[in-house]
């Protein structure tokens, strides 16, 4: 490992170091607030270390990792989400019965896992990144261990994740058997001369898709999503919804680009059917759901379907679309869950749709922020979600995938219904004047609200004037 390698890997190293450091701080019996603040600082540090990445050409740390612009972009998103989740977590866990300190360690570890995914170019790093993320998540999901839902969600996630990991591994083994290497580029090279995919490889890929599909929660591997989203503590849910999906999408994209899998029609057919099924099933499942967390879980199924739609053409525009949509989706979903976190009480998370009734009259700002997020998820103009969806449609129509684009439209329309349901719930009822509640943590509350407002501004900024982000996305595009 040369010095350059260190610089290139500095975000990963910083995250690793942070987790260890926090462990030490816990051992020093620092208070929750101090640990929170230091972890925040460390996150910021990790985030800013990205700015020092050598941005000339992809930096390979053979054979496992590669740090290129795309990786930096995805890592940026991931660390940023970690940062936001970190900020939002304070009040949430401060109010809960559980000692919140290990939480920060696990948060760093999960972020690390996702970053490894984003940079990996080898099955081993893929697997390890995924497992760091997953194992960390087991504990995070079941973090409030006295609560039945948390534990239930934890064990469901654990068994299913291990199960799907086995599929992933078996698939990798088959591919390895076929190609003799676990590095993406070599796999790609060995496939290069072949006009069609060898069956062993295809089988392996299929089994890998099961594993990846599970992580992405696409149909038919989606059924855990709602239970886990509901059971997990809200900040963790937002983490699952963003970080774990983002990392996996990144590595999937990289894998397909490197092996140039877009040439192989069976593969694309598989992805297409998954995407279509996800868009329809996800949106339908959320239709009359009463639990907002579950609604967002089901909607995430659909959104991952949209992302797959963007990915399928495999063109330059589709990579841009994936990046853009990912960014928009991250910001949006963080905002949505952020509101949920803020509104959560000591006993209950704000997950019942009824708890949003007349929110607009009680907390106009929060309601507006939440509405903006939901509208962005629904893909309504003026929000980043719209530009993202537009990007996806453009990418898929450019390649002539009318059918999928049409399904996407249908899905969005069904989706509208449940987003609107939440919104109209917030505006329904004629609540009295906003009452001043005594907040137990005014400073952190304020900070959280400011962060969410900033995120909302981003949502609207990217919705109204997306040029900047588009440029950014293009700059940090994955090279083909």
């Amino acid at each position: 490992m040369s010095g350059n390698d260190f610089i290139a890997l500095s975000p990963l190293l910083l995250l690793t170091g942070s987790s260890v450091l926090i462990m030490l701080l816990i051992a020093l019996k620092l208070s929750h607030r101090n640990i929170q603040l230091s972890s925040l600082l460390l996150f910021i540090l990790a985030f800013f270390s990205l700015f020092y990445e050598p941005d000339v050409s992809p930096h390979h740390i053979e054979p496992l990792l590669v740090v290129d612009r795309f990786a930096v972009f995805i890592m940026g998103l991931i660390i940023f989400s970690g940062l936001v989740v970190n900020i939002l977590s304070y009040i949430y866990f401060e109010e809960k019965e559980e000692g919140p300190k290990e939480y920060y360690v696990l948060l760093f570890l999960c972020t690390l896992g996702a970053c490894v995914l984003a940079t990996s170019k080898h099955f081993i790093s893929l697997f390890l990144g995924l497992e760091i993320l997953t194992v960390g998540l087991y504990a995070l999901i079941a973090y409030l261990k006295a609560r039945h839902h948390n534990i239930e969600a934890g064990i469901k996630y654990l068994v299913l994740a291990a199960f799907s990991s086995a599929f992933l591994l078996f698939g990798m083994a088959l591919i390895y058997l076929q190609t003799g290497s676990m590095e993406f580029s070599i796999i790609g090279r060995s496939l290069h001369s072949l006009p069609s995919l060898p069956p062993l490889f295809l089988t392996g890929l299929g089994m890998m898709l099961v594993g990846v599909g599970f992580k992405l929660a696409v149909v038919p591997f989606h059924m855990w999503t709602a239970d886990v989203y509901q059971g997990a503590p809200t900040p963790v849910t937002s983490f699952i919804a963003t970080v774990s999906k983002g990392g996996v999408i990144a590595v999937l994209l990289r894998f397909f680009i490197v092996i140039d899998g877009f040439r192989f029609s069976p593969l694309m057919l598989m992805l297409m059917s998954i995407a279509i099924a996800s868009m329809i099933v996800g949106n339908l499942l959320a239709l009359q759901q009463k639990n907002v967390k579950r609604i967002l879980a089901y909607s995430s199924i659909a959104h991952l379907g949209y992302l797959l739609v963007a990915l399928i053409p495999g063109s330059v525009m589709s990579i841009q679309a994936v990046s853009f949509y990912l960014a928009a989706y991250f910001i949006t979903i963080l905002t949505a869950f952020g509101i949920m976190t803020i509104l959560s009480t000591k006993e209950n998370d704000a997950e019942d749709i009824e708890s949003y009734k007349a929110l607009f009259w009680k907390h106009p700002l929060l309601a507006c922020i939440f509405s903006a997020a939901l509208l962005s998820l629904a893909g309504i103009p003026l929000t980043a979600g719209f530009v993202g969806k537009f990007f996806i449609l453009a990418a898929s129509l450019q390649a002539g995938f009318w059918m999928i684009a049409f399904v996407l439209v249908i899905g969005s329309v069904i989706g509208l219904y449940y987003y609107l349901r939440i919104i109209s719930k917030m505006f329904s009822g004629r609540g009295g004047v906003p009452r001043k509640e005594q907040r137990s943590h005014p400073v952190f509350y304020l900070v959280s609200v400011i962060v969410l407002s900033l995120l909302t501004l981003f949502i609207i900024w990217f919705g109204v004037y997306p040029s900047g982000l588009i440029y950014f996305v293009d700059y940090f595009r994955l090279n083909m």
């Binding site: 490992m1 690793t16 987790s19 462990m23 740390i61 053979e62 054979p63 496992l64 990792l65 809960k96 019965e97 000692g99 290990e102 360690v105 696990l106 570890l109 999960c110 690390l112 896992g113 490894v116 081993i124 790093s125 390890l128 990144g129 497992e131 760091i132 194992v135 960390g136 087991y138 504990a139 995070l140 079941a142 973090y143 261990k145 006295a146 934890g154 088959l174 058997l177 076929q178 060898p198 069956p199 062993l200 295809l202 089988t203 000591k346």
Partner: protein, 190 residues
């Protein structure tokens, strides 16, 4: 040294027959694992399965892994299981519960599903027809060089993986007397 001798003996004893016997033992004991009602029995069958698998690893020329299989899997991990089973005193009750549960009506569906999957997998694997090749022993040295050479980062990541496991287990396993809010229970440190 011993390992080499063992493989040599195996070689002398017509390796393929040896392989098939071991494979049969593995399969048989695995089937027993998933059909036994008593957890302890199942666990013991699993140990047998793991042991016979390690023999297969030997046969495949991977002695290092074979040993790890015995030491870590059959040794450490299984012990963890046994420990938990003992801790929770899962014995007859579980056995009865499983016995009541495992009726053909229940398992026929999953078995059919599994069979379908198996058939597909077998078909796809055999269809592949990989070229003939020679099995070579990849000894522990090669593995070690590779582990601490190119895959060093992987090892470090594995360390973080374990750390995640440890922290998680520690947090979840931690016992608390009450589930009340810790601020309200100041006098009882957790």
């Amino acid at each position: 040294m011993k390992i080499h001798q063992l493989t040599y003996i195996a070689y002398c004893l017509k390796m393929d027959i040896f392989f098939y016997i071991t494979a049969f033992v593995t399969l048989f004991s695995t089937i027993m694992v998933i059909t036994r009602h008593n957890p302890v029995h199942a666990l013991l069958y699993l140990v047998i399965s793991l042991l016979s698998l390690s023999v297969i690893f030997f046969l495949l020329g991977a002695p290092f892994v074979a040993l790890l299989e015995i030491i870590i899997y059959a040794g450490a991990i299984m012990v963890l299981f046994i420990f938990v089973i003992m801790l929770l005193n899962l014995g007859k009750e579980t056995a009865a519960q499983e016995k009541a549960w495992l009726k053909p009506k229940i398992w026929i569906g999953p078995v059919i599903l599994s069979t379908i999957l198996l058939a597909e997998l077998v078909y796809l694997i055999t269809m592949a027809q990989p070229p003939s090749y020679t099995l070579q022993t990849v000894d522990s040295k090669a593995v070690a060089i590779s582990l601490f050479g190119p895959y060093l980062i992987g090892v470090e990541l594995a360390a973080m993986l374990l750390m995640a496991g440890v922290v998680g287990t520690a947090h979840i396993g931690q016992q608390k007397k009450t589930v009340l809010h810790r601020f309200l229970k100041e006098e009882e440190p957790s």
